[in-house]
Subunit: 421 residues, 2 copies
Amino acid sequence: MVERRTPIPVGEAVKKVMEFAIRGETEFISINDSHGRFLAEDIKATHDVPHFDRAPYDGFAVRAIDTKEASQTSPVEFEVIDQIGAGMVSSKTAGLFQAVRIMTGAQIPDGCDAVVMLELTKEEERDGKKFMSIKRPFNKGENVSFRGEDAKDGQVLLKKGTKINPGIQAVLATFGYAKVPVAKKPVIGLFATGTELLEVDEPLQPGKIRNSNAHMIAAQIDRAGAEVRYFGKLNDNFETCFEAVRKAINEVDLLITTGGVSVGDYDYLPAIYEKLGAEVLFNKVAMRPGSVTTVALFGRKLLFGLSGNPSACYVGFELFARPVIKTMLFSEKPHLRKEKAILEADFPKANPFTRFVRSTLTIRDGKLAVSPSGLDKSNIVTSLAEANSLTILPGGTRGFKSGSEVDVLMLEDETGSEWPW
Amino acid sequence: MVERRTPIPVGEAVKKVMEFAIRGETEFISINDSHGRFLAEDIKATHDVPHFDRAPYDGFAVRAIDTKEASQTSPVEFEVIDQIGAGMVSSKTAGLFQAVRIMTGAQIPDGCDAVVMLELTKEEERDGKKFMSIKRPFNKGENVSFRGEDAKDGQVLLKKGTKINPGIQAVLATFGYAKVPVAKKPVIGLFATGTELLEVDEPLQPGKIRNSNAHMIAAQIDRAGAEVRYFGKLNDNFETCFEAVRKAINEVDLLITTGGVSVGDYDYLPAIYEKLGAEVLFNKVAMRPGSVTTVALFGRKLLFGLSGNPSACYVGFELFARPVIKTMLFSEKPHLRKEKAILEADFPKANPFTRFVRSTLTIRDGKLAVSPSGLDKSNIVTSLAEANSLTILPGGTRGFKSGSEVDVLMLEDETGSEWPW
């Protein structure tokens, strides 16, 4: 007898899952290892930047007042009383018509309040003394980077949940964050199910296929910013499977299984959930692919029963598991980034369920355009490889025409959405 | 005396560097470690997919010819002679009005040529035998996934130079690539220079700043797909610096230094290049920031002398070092992806040099829009952190107005460009 399941709308399913999404933990790691991780705290400036008045150019530090009379026809001459590179501090104080040779980044010497660029000066030596002259006046503060003009001590510079990129590394280093507070990587358990599955290093056998889902999902977990713990393949013995799942749950933050959630005779997952006493949040979603996606709650841990079909498995992960992982990584926008794009293919067939079409998003003259990544049947196997997006085709009674505007979920983008629907 | 340098156009500078960009080496690594690496060879299908005729749905395999007379009013009954799950092969051959219960993914039994979905059947047991009946005819081949319809043995599925994403992991696993040919990560040497630099864990001192460039460039190297070998800070002694650089070159594929390439009195790099006998390809580029960017050739190795100014350093890396690294990673499009976007800010000031403005690229209603990421002065320090793109403002006598179309280089995108100008 076929079990009848009632499909719920995708948005409702996502909402049910997100009710149980929780923030992860914080750990402090070396700045050297932090590229690509996610900030677990807001990052503040720990001092003014610059933290002293500094020269943005190579040249001479002067007192602006002394330059007032300088002109093309009557240059003003300064005695050069010191010379300092970046990182040095002059011990001299400039007086009347005195200047200090100063390199980019060096601290403005006491008494000086403007910098004259090297190219605008003429240098001369007389009687063992150095002089330089200029042919135009400078204002007080001209060519000076003032203390605190880039950032003020205590100012929030970076928001928690942000992925650490090279520019953020520069900010962290500037403010002395030798140890960086990042979100601990959630540990995601993974089981594959399916008697038809061979491991990647096994030769083919009649009727069997290699286990591609485990490798795919492991990479999706990695891309989302979490750590995978792969427990291997569940075998055909119900009791062994049940024990393996029960044991695994204790070792992970959430558990994913691929396959075994349909209503076929070898689909054990529903029975495992039942025996565990896990609460099934839903076991049928009004979407294609992935309508059999099942999510259950055991204690405070989510169990994701993804389809064994690769495309359905892929989509199920991105829609339901990814936002939970991103929430653990402190993201405020845990869902896939959603944008509008022009559809470049016809989908004449109506479908009662919302479709998520693996697709290739391109930019044409500044505008987003999208087409399915597996256009002809011979490409089914590589359509996931080429997909950088999922095109959303809402369920209904009509198809979709090339040229119409559609919503697209971007798979390789860290921007995210607060809510995908 | 100030050395006079003649600036060359950015495009010419990039071209000069790319003349010495070479392909990297191949290594074979476990599929488990290959996510995010770059394919060093084209990947071919090692067998047909599916490699047997298979059932895409749960149901019954039948002989289409037997279903011809089935209708709502006169169902046709079949004897169920076997039951197989995915991964199993039936030992039976279906004869006249015989069917095999078959699960999704299982091999079509001999004699059968169509699959009837479970929902369309009625099952019954009589005299210890199983029967099922259907109410409509099926065509030969209906609901059968035929051998080779997804991919043919030998077909090229993935191009070398492609970054391995989750979908590619699935393809690699499907075809038994337990070991994956990937580009060996180029080893990029890195020195920082600057007497003003403190390490990230040192307390601030008057006139000094923390070394942010080394951490930033290390992350840029990582983002580009290479491995950084950080040799620390060059000190103020020319001979020591020279020896350190000379020694480091032997250990890396290319060498980057930050700072020390201006014409200031503490800028050693030009002298080091000279003493090495390295050929300076250029030491002044008509661009802002980064006009002092210097690239030299020593033997077959490129030495990148980036500016000590963080923004200039950042841009110099992305324009000149990144495409060399990407070429070593077998990319056919080693340069940053370039797209058109609508400018959302005024740049009234004309500049003779081409500008690369750190900017934030957004999508508004399916169209790219870009604005500088450090709009107000207080954000200079975070403008690199927020930048996901560089807006190109070509040098000339006029400024740029909000609403005009500009070229933008995308920093966080793997698509790339064949040539950026």
